[in-house]
Amino acid sequence: MDVLGILIPVSLFLGAVGLGAFWWMLKKGQFDDPDGDANRILRDDYDDQPKS
């Protein structure tokens, strides 16, 4: 059971990384145009104005 002492912090850390990533995406506005992003990937022409 000693392994729990490592595993629990590890799982919490990984979860927190996920939460942080979500917060970052939210801040960067990655959910502002989901339809557009889904369609832009299908365009033939080179996207010379990528979302910065």
Binding site: M1, L4, I8, S11, L12, G15, A16, G18, L19, F22, W23, L26, K27, K28, G29, Q30, D32, D33, P34, D35, G36, N39, R40, L42, R43, D44, D45, Q49, K51, S52
Partner: protein, 727 residues
């Protein structure tokens, strides 16, 4: 949020950038940011075409399409105007409209949405971790291990619950302060009691801790809250977009010359010029010029009226032929347009309080749950004389009955339904509008601009002698008057070639005049040509001294109107046509479309009164209208719909807005509304069944945290899936 974090970098969210851009618009005329609405784009190719077409316009530095919002944000030099961009897009085959970036500023709603989403994310993170730890306890961990799991759960759950549950605590506190009960009171109580007893149990190495239940409760309820918010926010932003389509500008004439000002800056006594085709921004008196004005949005009259020096015009009317100079007699809040707003306020007050299905459920539910848990606690206390057991039971009852599924039941269905209807071109502005639409049994239609396009087409062109038709075409082609434009189009389509008419001049307010084979020919109003005016819209053609020939016009049916009326009749709904137009025009129209009940020559007050009467007789009225004269009736009806071409005031008074030209989505909307109401009821039933099954266990003290977690998750998931079944 993007706007707050980094002002300099252009973000992908045009709405976020619109706010700072709009603020600086006045200070930095060098770098204009234009917003366009693109209602018809739908695919990857559209994005490319639009961005290419926009970038090709000289002066445009950057163009970015947002497909989700169907908008484009354009960074351009000062000499680029929105009209140029719209034209460029029209050439590329895309419909585009200018948007007022000021109206689209980032609102508090956006911030609230992000805030809710963040809380949801935190709650979800905490729920997953606590659930993971709880699995160990459910699997049979004992003694020190179990205590450790409980302590770690507490360390995660307590801060998470405090942060994530804040919207509920605030709302519950707000309700309690005014001595009311709402859905959030049992929620808050359940969370507080669950966390409290669990902490107590954990300190005393107890067996049951409900940390997982408390945080799961928060997560599911926040999910419902977020869905609800998103539906309303997207409807609101689309409604804002419609408002932004009307950019309120006026041409003010000063000693220094003409200047373009915002309508809000006009004062009484100012002189404004209204170009042909422009909408009159204020109430006023004509001081110079002659023209015809279209009053159909204000009164429903389809016949354009003459306006000359001294004529009184009011805001909202459209100037047709000649430029008019108007002295402002009332601006802003004092215009006739705004007096109608008072009528709207009165009508809204008469609408009565609609209790939504969710409120009805909450009214039954909230007191029931409290009584049940108190009775269970008191019972157990009397039986065992042990306060700790009694409190545990009370917490278990509250958690089991907590309205996870109830909180999801309505938002999940309305989100699914309004998403469906949005794709079909219908915008739901109000959360309870769908429920009310499902109840409607009487449909009242306005005529001009609602069932018709509001644009007349000529009738009986075959009756025109060949020569006359050719002269008429020559005259009509030279004018921008809507009747002339439509006549020219119809004649050209019929294969007529224009006659050789010289010295074409437009006499504003009267018509066109020219010289043909040595005689004067005219196309215009009845009075000008010495003919008797007809009750219907008509243009008159005079060849020399011969008696004038009438060319009658009729409004065309809006796309889908006939099918809609037929479909409503088939559904057994009572259909009434009410219009401010002349009796002859209205009755003839009603016959063609198949409506039996007709009210003609109705004033705005009479429209509102008719709706109020019907409501008093117990009918649930669906009002469909577009004009200012319909606004009060729209606000007073049980539920109301207006087309996108309607005036801003009419759109804001109605619950739903049609985005496209066709009326067909209304029939779809009624069908969807009925099935949405059925789904909501089913969801309530499902939630109740889960409660009925689980509550006896909780009261009997047999409810373990495992059962609580299972009941909560399964009922929420079932309700969510049921909502997705919506067709």
């Amino acid at each position: 949020m993007t706007a707050t974090f980094d002002h300099i970098r252009p973000s992908a969210c045009p709405a976020c950038n619109a706010a700072p851009a709009a603020e600086h618009l006045a200070d930095l005329p060098k770098d204009a940011k234009l917003m366009l609405s693109l209602p018809a784009i739908h695919c990857a190719a559209c994005i490319s075409e639009v961005e290419k077409a926009l970038s090709a316009v000289p002066g445009v530095r950057d163009a970015r399409v947002n497909l989700t919002l169907r908008r484009a944000a354009v960074q351009a030099g000062p000499d680029v105007t929105a009209e140029m961009l719209c034209e460029a897009l029209a050439r590329a085959g895309h419909e585009a409209h200018e948007l007022d970036p000021g109206v689209l500023a980032t609102t508090t709603a956006d911030r609230q949405g992000r805030d809710l989403l963040m809380r949801l994310a935190v709650a979800f993170f905490a729920m997953m971790n606590v659930m993971l730890l709880s699995v160990a306890v459910w699997a049979g961990a004992e003694g020190v291990t179990r205590d450790m799991m409980h302590w770690i759960s507490a360390a995660i759950a307590i801060p998470a619950v405090i942060f994530a549950g804040r919207p509920f605590y605030a709302s519950a506190w707000g309700a309690l302060r005014v001595r009311r009960l709402n859905m959030d009171v049992p929620i808050t109580l359940a969370i507080a009691l669950a966390v409290g007893t669990s902490l107590y149990e954990t300190i005393h190495s107890g067996e049951h801790a409900y940390f997982d239940a408390a945080i799961a409760l928060c997560t599911f309820l926040l999910a419902g809250r977020y869905l609800d918010h998103r539906t309303r926010a997207s409807a609101r932003s689309a409604a804002q977009e419609l408002a932004a389509l009307e950019v309120p500008r006026a041409l003010r004439i000063t000693e220094a010359g003409e200047e373009t000002v915002s309508v809000a800056d006009l004062r009484v006594g100012d002189i404004v010029r209204v170009k042909p085709g422009g909408r009159i921004p204020v109430d006023g008196r004509v001081t110079q010029g002659q023209s015809e004005i279209d009053r159909s949005l204000m009164t429903g009259e389809s016949l354009p009226a003459f306006a000359g020096e001294g004529s009184i015009v009011s805001a909202g009317e459209v100037n047709l032929t000649g430029p008019l100079t108007i002295i402002v007699t009332a601006a802003g809040q004092d215009t006739a347009l705004h007096r109608i707003a008072d009528l709207v306020a009165v009508a809204e007050a008469g609408r009565g309080n609609y209790t939504s299905l969710a409120d009805q459920a909450a009214k039954l539910y909230a007191p029931g749950v409290h009584i049940l848990s108190v009775v269970a606690a008191v019972g157990w206390y009397l039986y065992t004389q042990d306060l700790r057991i009694a409190l545990n039971i009370a917490a278990a009852v509250l958690i089991i009955t907590c309205p996870c599924a109830l909180g999801l039941a309505v938002p999940a269905v309305t989100t699914a339904a309004s998403g469906r209807l949005f794709r079909k071109g219908m915008l739901i502005k109000d959360g309870t509008a769908l429920e009310r639409l499902a109840e409607a049994d009487t449909v009242v239609f306005d005529k001009t601009g609602t069932l018709t396009n509001g644009a007349p087409t000529p009738l009986a062109l075959d009756a025109l002698p060949g020569e006359a038709a050719r002269v008429a075409l020559a005259l009509a082609q030279a004018s921008a008057h809507p009747l002339s434009v439509s006549l020219a189009r119809a004649l050209t389509a019929g294969g007529t070639r224009p006659a050789d008419v010289t010295e074409l001049t437009e006499v504003p307010g009267y018509g066109m005049q020219g010289l043909w084979q040595g005689q004067i020919v005219r196309l215009g109003r009845a009075a000008w040509l010495g003919a008797d005016a007809t009750p219907d819209t008509a243009s008159f053609l005079g060849l020399g001294d011969a008696p004038a020939i009438a060319i009658p016009f009729a409004d065309t049916l809006r796309e889908g109107a006939a099918d809609l009326v037929a479909a409503l009749g088939a559904q057994g709904k009572r259909v009434i046509l009410i219009s401010g137009d002349s009796r002859a025009a209205v009755t003839r129209f009603a016959r063609t479309i198949g409506i039996a009940e007709v009210v003609a020559e109705a004033l705005p007050q009479e429209k509102a009164a008719l709706v109020a009467d019907l409501t008093a007789q117990g009918a649930k009225v669906l009002m469909v209208g577009d004009g200012l004269n319909d606004t009060a009736a729209l606000a007073g009806a049980h539920v109301s719909i207006s087309p996108a071409s309607a005036l801003d005031a009419a759109r804001s008074a109605s619950d739903m807005v049609l985005m496209g030209k066709s009326l067909a989505p209304i029939a779809d909307a009624i069908r969807t509304a009925v099935s949405a109401r059925a789904r909501i009821r089913e969801n309530f039933t499902i939630a109740t069944v889960y409660n009925i099954l689980a509550v006896p266990l909780a009261v009997a003290g047999l409810c373990s945290p495992l059962i609580a977690a299972l009941a909560m998750s399964t009922s929420s998931i079932t309700v969510g899936l049921n909502a997705l079944r919506l067709r």
